[in-house]
Amino acid sequence: MTNAPGVYQGAANAIAAVMLLLEFGMLRQALARDQVRLYAAQSALISVLAVVIAADRGLPDLYVLAATSAALKVLAVPLLLRRLLRAGGAGDEPAGVAGSYTLSVASAVLAAIGLAAFGFFAFGSLHLHGPAAPPLALAIAGAMVFVAFGLMIVRRDVASQAIGFCTLENAISLAALVVAAGLPLILETAFLFDLLVAVVVFGMLIRAHHARTESLSTADLTRLRG
């Protein structure tokens, strides 16, 4: 019988595992608005994890980080993304997102399991042991990075790529929380506002793409002419 890692570590690991599952959920979800909803849930979980670590390690500035991150990533960014995606004006769901898989859903999930395995064991073999770091949560963050890249690759639409990029940031925040929970607050906040910049850039990209092709699908871009 292997020893369980203790309630705090177990809870931290379980939260990280659920974040990875939500990443897979975004991979297989057909509609952009459901993807945004899952992204908000994932961001909420990372705030919860920050609170758990803050309570366990006695790091008061992590509470501030959790609140800022929640305000930004659970409320502001999803709202912004929803508004950008609605920019086309064609109802709630922009054209060209649903069914933009290059693989069937089951194959995409199996391929992503392979990617996750690679990320998992690659980060696991680093043997990083921070003071607040359950090594498993770091490995899960590694897996999330790879699955986020997978999400951007297997979906042929701009919306999924924007969401994949945002969840990439979530994965990196998770890794940062786990490895360096005591990072100065100002740095963490600066990273968070980087995300806003990225969302604005993606917003311009989405609008430009939509204006040219009247769809968010990138399938039209394969016929580039010189």
């Binding site: 809870a11 379980a14 999930v109 498993l136």
Partner: protein, 320 residues
């Protein structure tokens, strides 16, 4: 002060509890389902009346079917009734016959039963029965990897593959309950159970549309007492799977730790309450999701596989 029961009696009681109460669990689920749909629903004892009615009817076999057609329901029920000997139904300690087979042994018995029913369906020559058995075999091959990975998780967690050992591990501390490997494996097993009992993916549980049927269609050509045995068998299988989920994975509390009559009786009540709770959750899920198209079943299996694989991954790094 109540009397201590001999272990043999408890062993028999385990099988009897499953055998007698399985139709009751089905009745509870049907009742909850009807309530959720705003109907009054059949009484909870209705499955017993159905079994009694079917067993009074005449038994017919299709022309050209061999003896196996009639033997299969008996073999299936015998296999189902052997499984409760191997899993913790009422007690937290192993009974004398409890260690004659591990989780794989239980799995083999369940597949033996399903094999017997599928072969009997082939004997009939009826297209619907054959369609059902061929689908059942194909889809159980798809969910098989999930079950294997759940077993791997159990093996990594406990160092054995005995259901009693896992239940004891889960009981031992809160850390064992919240560890991701345990939660992921339990969730994966729950999805497999939903699939195996015909609840979510494509089958309408009590439907009459032949094209949507998987397991239900296999009993098409049986009649009379043999049909009753097959129906009872699928109720047994459902209750056994719920027992494995509740008593081994999710909530191995409330089992009798001693041989006292009182604690064993309490364990029976606790088991029925747990099975009814699982049944309510299943009924809610069954009612709140649309059925999938037949070819989407791979997506469901892929999701369950993902959970099971992640469970093993997390353990492999030592943190899960």
């Amino acid at each position: 002060m109540s009397a201590a029961l001999p272990v043999q009696v408890i062993q028999v009681l385990q099988v009897l509890t499953i055998a007698v109460c399985a139709p009751w669990v089905t009745g509870v689920i049907a009742k909850v389902e009807a309530r959720l749909q705003g109907r009054r629903g059949p009484r909870i004892a209705q499955p017993y009346y159905d079994l009694a009615k079917a067993s009074r009817k005449e038994a017919l076999a299709p022309e050209g079917a061999s003896w196996f057609f009639l033997a299969a329901p008996v073999i299936a029920c015998a296999a189902y009734l052997t499984v409760p000997l191997l899993i913790p139904v009422l007690t937290s300690y192993g009974l004398p016959l409890g260690y004659m087979g591990d989780i794989l042994g239980g799995g083999f018995l369940l597949s033996l039963a399903s094999f017997a029913v599928a072969t009997a369906a082939l004997e009939t020559g009826s297209p619907y029965a054959q369609l059902g058995s061929s689908r059942a075999k194909t889809f159980s091959a798809i969910t098989e990897p999930v079950v294997l990975f759940v077993v791997f998780t159990v093996a990594l967690l406990t160092g054995t593959d005995l259901p009693y050992a896992l239940a004891a591990t889960v009981r031992s501390s809160a850390g064992q309950v919240v560890r991701p490997a345990h939660l992921l494996a339990s969730a994966a097993l729950f999805m497999v159970i939903l699939h195996e009992t015909g609840r979510i993916p494509v089958e309408t549980h009590a439907g009459t549309n032949e094209f949507g049927m998987i397991e239900e269609a296999r009993a098409f050509e049986h009649s009379g007492p043999y049909f009753a045995l097959l129906t009872w068998g699928s109720e047994l299988k459902q209750f056994i799977l719920y027992t494995i989920l509740a008593d081994v994975f999710l909530a191995p509390w409330g089992l009798a730790a001693s041989r006292q009559l009182g604690s064993v009786a309490l364990a029976i009540v606790a088991l029925l309450a747990k099975a009814a709770a699982v049944g309510c959750v299943v009924a809610v899920i069954d009612n709140s999701f649309a059925k999938l198209r037949l070819f989407k079943i791979t997506e469901f299996a892929a999701a369950a596989f993902l959970l099971a694989v992640l469970g093993v991954f997390t353990l492999y790094l030592g943190g899960g």
